[in-house]
Assembly symmetry: C2
Homo-oligomer: 289 residues x 2
């Protein structure tokens, strides 16, 4: 299924490399596949089992002490499809092995600490796939655009993020950073749809239009953040997201390939299997009232 | 679909009532349906959308200040199918609105506090569906059977649990307590399957056989716990679980009916929709480089 759907490694195609220019990424493109929406939806469903088995192996091997885990960082403009990625890709995972954190505007207490203070405790433990729906990158995106921090402080943060992520990698965290990239025209349509449907009003925030007015400043902030924090061990992926079906299969495949990179294995039993089979068999003789 | 699958309200059928006797529940029975495994699997898939929409409404109305949420407490002997319930029923929910907590043997720190100390912080917030995979009921089940606490302390806990749950209900938490009920013969088969498959060894714990040897004591502890803590607002449901398909559709339906009891509504917009449509339209005139 996968071989036919993808005509190249989407992980290779979307991974940010030296000389990256966000302006050169077409949000409507679908690198690595020509299958279209219907094919994309079929691929998404067909690969769920592969994703789940890798997750289960990762979880299982952690019970035997293996430290590996995955952290996916998801960043995007409003209405770019983060929610859909959560509900259509990460919802395929077993809930026990998934830890989802949605970072909102920092609270007063959070603002009184270094920007990584609220992030660090949400790093997933061994065997778990963590998803950050927004993240420490907000601290160099909206905070840069809105000048919520000084230029010096923003500058400091790029290095702090790189150091922080280096520490995660050393602990066995596979760090995957994803920007969903929509065009401003596509965003306008999606916001307009939310305004047109009373069942979607709760997803709409007047602040979305305020931020939208600063689109070029946000694209510039993304470009700089990605440049400054893209490292071999904690790479960025920029996923064209005007087509929801494409963004979903691309993120699914990136996560699958991250898990394949770990290559998790079923752990050996830490008990004597034959002895346990005998003990279990002996209980069948018990006479219970 | 539902009307044809269920020939009676499964919530009514499985709800514990006065005079309840666990020994009278046949773990192989399938109250409320004669559809069988294939029909059950179809029903489980067909009702996913209904479950998700109710969940989304619950989440949405909480954004407007509504306090309601759901807490499902899941208790069972080992290998009774808790994992399957999580992965086949709760996995249907949107991850953002689901908070899953697996309670393990208490740590040293947890043991130094009252038994509810580790439980209370895991109660879901407004709009969220919480699932306790094991719970405060372990403190009157294994702790009673194994005499980890004195008889007086166990006695005190039934009342403490009832008081604790009364407080939850007052806060807008719909409390749903579920025992998955398997037969000891069915458990033996499932444990045997785990021992036979190296990919399942990580799920096996030699302690499972130790607890299994105390089956009658556990059934008695369940009977007493259910009797003492079954209240109109925080009811128990005993779900026959020898058929995995039945346990899954039954739990799914119980959760759906709990949500229907809340009857969550899309919240009204807290902004001027027409004004926002104008503001959004105005951004389409912006000339970005």
């Amino acid at each position: 299924m996968t071989e036919r759907f993808w005509n190249a490694s989407v992980t290779d195609l979307l991974r940010v490399r030296d000389g990256f220019d966000l302006r050169a990424v077409d949000p409507s493109s679908t690198p690595g596949t020509t299958a279209g929406k219907k094919g994309g939806q079929a691929e998404l469903a067909a690969s769920a089992q592969e994703l789940r088995e890798l997750q289960e192996r990762l979880f299982a091997q952690s019970r035997a002490g293996e430290p590996e885990r995955v952290l996916v960082v998801l960043q995007a403009m409003d209405a770019a499809g983060k929610g859909g990625i959560v509900n259509h890709v990460f919802a395929q995972l077993e809930p026990h092995g998934l830890q989802l954190t949605a970072f909102k505007s920092p609270t007063e207490e959070e603002r009184s600490h270094d920007f990584l203070w609220r992030i660090a405790p949400r790093v997933p433990g061994p065997g778990v796939i963590g998803l950050f729906d927004r993240s420490h990158y907000e601290d160099v995106l909206i905070q840069r655009v809105r000048e919520f921090a000084t230029a010096d402080e923003i500058e400091r943060r790029y290095g702090a993020i790189t150091e922080f992520e280096r520490g995660l990698v050393a602990d066995g965290v596979r760090v995957v950073k994803i920007m969903l990239h929509v065009s401003p025209e596509e965003q306008a349509e999606r916001l307009s749809d939310r305004l047109a449907d009373p069942a979607k009003h709760w997803k709409y925030n007047p602040g979305d239009v305020d931020e939208r007015q600063l689109w070029p400043a946000y694209m510039s902030a993304f470009q700089i953040a990605i440049e400054r924090t893209n490292t071999p061990d904690a790479p960025w992926f920029v996923v064209p997201a005007n087509s929801k079906w494409y963004a979903r299969v691309a993120v699914q495949r990136i996560v699958i390939e991250a898990l394949q990179g770990i290559d998790p294995q079923w752990p050996a039993a830490d008990f004597d299997v034959a002895a346990e089979q005998s003990r279990l068999a002996a209980t069948l003789e018990l006479r219970w009232p």
